[in-house]
Amino acid sequence: MKNTPFTEKHKALGAKMAEFAGYNMPISYSGINDEHASVRNNAGVFDVSHMGEFIVKGPQALELLQRITTNDVSKLTPGKAQYSCFPNNDGGIVDDLLVYCLEDNNSYMLVVNASNIEKDWNWIQSFNTNSVEMHNISDKTCLLAIQGPNATKILQPLTQVDILNLKYYTFEKGTFAGVDNVLISATGYTGSGGVEIYFEDKDGAADKVWDAIFSAGAAQGIKPVGLGARDTLRLEMGFCLYGNDIDDTTSPIEAGLGWITKFTKDFNSKEIFEKQKSDGADKKLVGFEMVEKGIARQGYEIKDFEGAAIGRVTSGTQSPTLGKAIGMGYVDKQFAAIDSEIFVSIRNTLLKAKVVKMPFA
């Protein structure tokens, strides 16, 4: 099991640690509900250094990325990022990712899921017939997400970069807490605003940055937040989690990711997705809330009122913000409309739920 440069910090804070994607990660500190509320109302810090980062560069980098991702990389200019996914050749998803444009048409950073680093690397390489230069910088890259309505205000004194006015899905490189070459990105997985910062772990940079953030946010009550609340926060926003809501067998069209699937260019599985888009996909990822008391969990069956199977739960939890049970799952298309009545099989009992709009909160 790998550690991140912040593992000792987590342990010193009394975090509940567990293995996630091969890394020893903090699941919670003060409790998931408390950490969740801290991000929604104030500010919280996540160590997500387990995520993977690849640099893809050279004159043919754009062409390679256009082939292997669904979103249109040519729309990016330096300082902009986009959400995208790698489709496989069978209409499924290899991984979802962020693409950062470092230099126009020439240098990009891809941020991928920790559990898929090797799989993604090999997948990209299998299409890299023009010897585009690639570097896996995952192991030396620290990634902290500082999220919440007060996050940028707390961090602004630590840098010359104007993070208070950094637009969503844009980034700048600068000095942060005395550490050079920190990539500050107005992105995140919580829906509460804030930034994500990427930097190399050298000369004690990890400790320096972590300590500076917590001392800058002490008066404001900034808190460390674990992967537990990261999951409840993203689920309330209806953000997909790879391995739960999207995987090798689900398409971006089925998953509601048509907005990152651009048919103006060629890419893997394009024809399959185009057909799904024009004919309508047979199944659709929907958000639902429980009407009867119970909590839906990943893998539970979704049924109609007669008990016939119509789908499966991909994510489910008690929403800390709403105080009710919410979930996501794939259902047959005739049950995908808002307000459709569906039933979740929880310990052999069918409990009523209804399809609702996302985000939930």
Binding site: K16, I27, S28, G31, I32, N33, D34, G228, D231, T232, K293, G294, I295, R297, T317, Q318, P320, A325, R347
Partner: protein, 125 residues
């Protein structure tokens, strides 16, 4: 962590307080801490006669769900009504207001055979 001397304990991290043949049952401080924020205690076995190790309910935390096992054969006579609206009592007061069920035990000697506080402390440390 606190494991009161006057209680008995199971390997499933439940505590039992016995008076005559009436047992009060809940989960230990260790169990509530491992589960994290508890959001729903689902017990629909009130009035049922069950065997030892039968599942009498489930406890749902934000991230996980865990079964509750009956420590001894008997009949469930009461479910803590306070947990319906305030399941977090299991976190804040696991041995007091967070109790889960009362039951009549078929054979009170079954409870004597469970772990005492020292044995349970050794199990979880």
């Amino acid at each position: 962590m606190n494991f009161p001397e006057n209680l008995k304990y199971t390997k499933d991290h439940e505590w039992i307080s016995l008076e005559g043949n009436v047992a009060t049952i809940g989960i230990t401080e260790f169990a509530q801490h491992e589960l994290g924020d508890i959001v729903y205690v689902d017990i629909s076995s009130n009035g049922k006669a069950l065997a030892a190790e039968d599942v009498f309910g489930t406890v749902e935390a934000v991230k996980t769900v865990s079964d509750l096992f009956l420590p001894a054969a008997g009949t469930i006579t009461e479910v803590n009504p306070a947990l319906e609206a305030n399941p977090e009592l299991v976190n804040s007061d696991p041995y007091g207001q967070g109790w889960m069920i009362k039951m009549t035990v078929d054979n009170p000697a079954d409870i004597d055979g469970l772990m005492d506080a020292a044995a349970y402390t050794a199990l979880v440390s």
